[in-house]
Amino acid sequence: MKRLFLSIGCLFTLAACSTPASTADETVRIRWSRDPENLDPLVLPNPNAYEAINLLHCSLLTVDYTQKKFVPWLAQAMPRVQQQDSLLLVTYQLRPEATWDNGQPVLAQDVAFTLKVMNCPGLPNEAARAQYGFIEAIRLDSLDQRRFTLVLRGRAQELVQSSGDYPILPEYKLDPQGQLRPVALAALRADTARTNPRRSPAVLAFAERYEAAHLNQHPENLPGCGPYTLKEWQPSRYLLLQRKKTWWADRVKNPAPQLVANPTAISYEIIPDDATALLALRRGDIGVYPMVPARDFIQLRQDKAAHNLRFYTADSYDMITAGFNTRRSVLRDAATRQALSYLFDIPGLIQASQQGMAYPSVSLVNPQATAIYNDSLPLLKPDSRQAASLLSNAGWRRDKQGWGRQVGNGPAQRLELTFSYRTGDAAYEAIVLQFRTAAAQLGIPVRPQPLEASLFTKQLRAGETDMFLQLLSGNPFAYNFAPILHSQSLGWGNFTGFGTAASDQLIEAIATEADASRQARMLRKFQRLLRQESPMVVLFFLQYRLAAASNLTNLHATGIRPGYEAAAIRTRPVSPLQP
């Protein structure tokens, strides 16, 4: 017995003293600052939801982060494009290897089904309708089930890329009886909630079925043809994606980078607090920390103890904007909004909140896009005199209590504002405090209103804010401002309430213009219009700052959201600890 105990003791001692063997766990852990909230592919309320959906589903085209261009994904090649009057005919051929999880092939019929879902009345598809409203029809090839042609309104090349940039949904899962097949896409597109829809029983039944699937919280009810499946989602804690054992792209010989998914699992760890996330990165609890706060990033980069980390930066298309709710009576006129724009100290904020790792812009266009950037407009600088002068022009008079005015026979107005922002980001707090201080010096009371993320979104949608801070994400491929500034996007994406007939027309013209020089002229005009109307102020474009464990390679760090390519990441085995 003594020997037995001695042997067990020795075993334990040896186990304790031995070098830990490297584990084969290839789970990539990535920090998210907030929950995706909703994983319905039609809704996608934030970039995290968008990132997750791109791993669960495939679209026809995707972005090659290294080349910064669209490449075929479900499509076998880039589509063939033909012009026909004011229309573009875009013909796609689907890959023969592409299949759903049940082995059925991904067919043109699935693409048609997806477009119908994106336009089906009774579904939360307002965003999709606005973004892909240029797809007029789909023509299926009677001889080839994998071939189809999309009819696009407009002639801009960006439309071709956008025509393939949405997740393709499985018809067999949502509409196994094919009830939507007889309903034409054009009929669904004409049918809006406002015009007493001519809904067929099939459409109504489908909408009910879709709602009953509760895809917002149960995306597993809609298995996509992407490389990953949802294994677990604990809201506000983590989201775990598991690599499919057999993904259709594994059968492709010599696969292109977009057809490769390396990590066996990707765990998105939801850590709202930056300090906690930094600690988790240092401890190795997370491997990728995107958008590290500028101060931490600089300190971490200089820290010799952080030798096990690698750092990446890239100029991004993300911008922080301050929006004005133009539906509020005090913010209805452009002069008041222009006046308030002069209270932001943008150069100071770039230095203070981003440590200089950001750059200003006159409008929503990235300054690096020199061909379309309107450099004739001056950058905004703080100028309280100009602000006071503009307020006077807008009819405001300063008295002991602040600023007031009388508009017609309506009630007297006082210039008092609330400034809402998502809580938890020090940069937002710095911006609001700077604005509040500048406004207070001018006699304008401003009440900061930090709100939890979902409550903030709810208030934005309900139009209950005066001013708000928002992060907008752009890309170098398309210039479609409809989701954020078109009057048809009021209530779900256009939170400023801005939108006139002229601005709507210009937004639509920009999105559909084929000629690059004409489009550039229109874009410059649009930037001037935005400066005149000032529904929002672009404070600065961000630089992406990514920190990752040094054993993670092939991140494809880029300025396009989310700033890395999760599926491409490779894990280098950790070498055993040296004694």
Partner: protein
């Protein structure tokens, strides 16, 4: 022995000096010639160390002056914690003395009044609810009141019932105290819009059971003393007995625990502010200043200054409490 007494006196004076300084700082903060307001960021001095330019105690990661935040934080601590402690003590004293003095069977009211009061309270509560639930509840209340009225009719309308004041106060206190103070305060603060008035209400609503229990015990003790019995035999009314002859004798206990209450409530206010609830973001608070250290973990001055302020204030208040309990006069 002499040196110990001298040290005790020194401690007492130091505590009084600190508290007096705190009160002066709180009172004069808005008129002091500070170079920066507590909520105005200096974008050119982000998280700078003490003695940099005009920032004598440095700045936080948003560029706010630490000295200004400390002084205005003292003002917030005084303006929130002092009234909160006073109100919680007042509420606790009223409820605790009523519970201790009248116990469960010394207040008797005609049953018909009790029934009417119950009806008014129940109906007013139900009218706050949504219509679907309220119809059902209204029915239940009406049925209960009818049953009560029928019973009264049989027993005669002059029947009196005893009000269980003691049981009600103890029960309510136990209910509030059963939830940890911080959890309860956090829950209430999350429900209310951040404002000093809202925070005051939260602190009072969560802190009153302590003083109530203390005063109740004291009243129970004094009520049994011979001079109260003498007062009763002379025919003095209850209110006078309680107000003129019992409560003055509880004053010593209340005044000795008051500084402890203030210290506890400063701690609670600071914790809530540290967690980002209770006060609006533009209001300076020691807790908020302490929380800003999370954004710049290497900025030691963001921890040192507010931590020292909280520590010294708490120690001074405890010293004051000791002094009062030892020297009632």
């Amino acid at each position: 022995m002499k040196s110990r007494a001298r040290f005790s006196t020194l401690r007492r004076w130091l505590a009084l000096l600190w508290l007096a300084g705190l009160l002066v700082a709180a009172g004069l903060a808005p008129v002091l010639p500070l170079p920066y307001a507590p909520d105005a960021p200096d974008l050119h001095a982000i998280a700078v160390t003490p003695l940099t330019g005009q920032h004598w105690l440095g700045t936080d990661p948003l560029g706010r002056d630490v000295l200004a935040q400390l002084l205005f934080g003292a003002r917030t601590a005084v303006l929130v914690s002092l009234p909160a402690a006073a109100l919680a003590t007042l509420l606790g004293t009223i409820l605790g003395s009523a519970a201790g003095f009248w116990s469960n069977d010394n207040i008797r009211i005609p049953a018909v009044y009790g029934l009417a009061a119950l009806g008014v309270v129940a109906f007013s509560f139900v009218f706050q609810l949504s219509s679907g639930t309220s119809i059902l509840l209204l029915g239940i209340i009406a049925a209960g009141l009818s049953l009560g009225a029928a019973r009264l009719h049989r027993a005669g309308y002059r029947q009196v019932v005893a009000l269980p004041v003691d049981r009600a106060v103890l029960g309510l206190g136990a209910l509030v105290a059963s939830v940890p103070l911080l959890i309860l305060a956090l829950t209430l603060a999350a429900l209310l819009q951040p404002s000093p008035a809202g925070l005051l209400a939260v602190l009072v609503a969560t802190y009153w059971p302590g003083p109530a229990r203390l005063v109740r015990a004291e009243v129970l003790r004094i009520r049994a003393l011979p001079y109260i019995e003498a007062g009763r035999s002379l025919g003095l009314p209850d209110g006078r007995l309680l107000y003129r002859h019992i409560l003055p004798n509880c004053w010593h206990t209340i005044s000795a625990t008051f500084p402890i209450s203030v210290a506890t409530l400063i701690g609670l206010e600071t914790t809530l502010s540290f967690l980002g609830v209770g006060l609006p973001p533009e209001t300076a608070s020691w807790g908020r200043l302490l929380a800003s250290a999370r954004l710049a973990p290497t900025a030691w001055w963001l921890i040192l200054s507010p931590a020292l302020a909280i520590l010294l204030t708490t120690l001074a208040l405890r010293q004051l409490s000791n002094t009062v309990s030892r020297n009632p006069q």
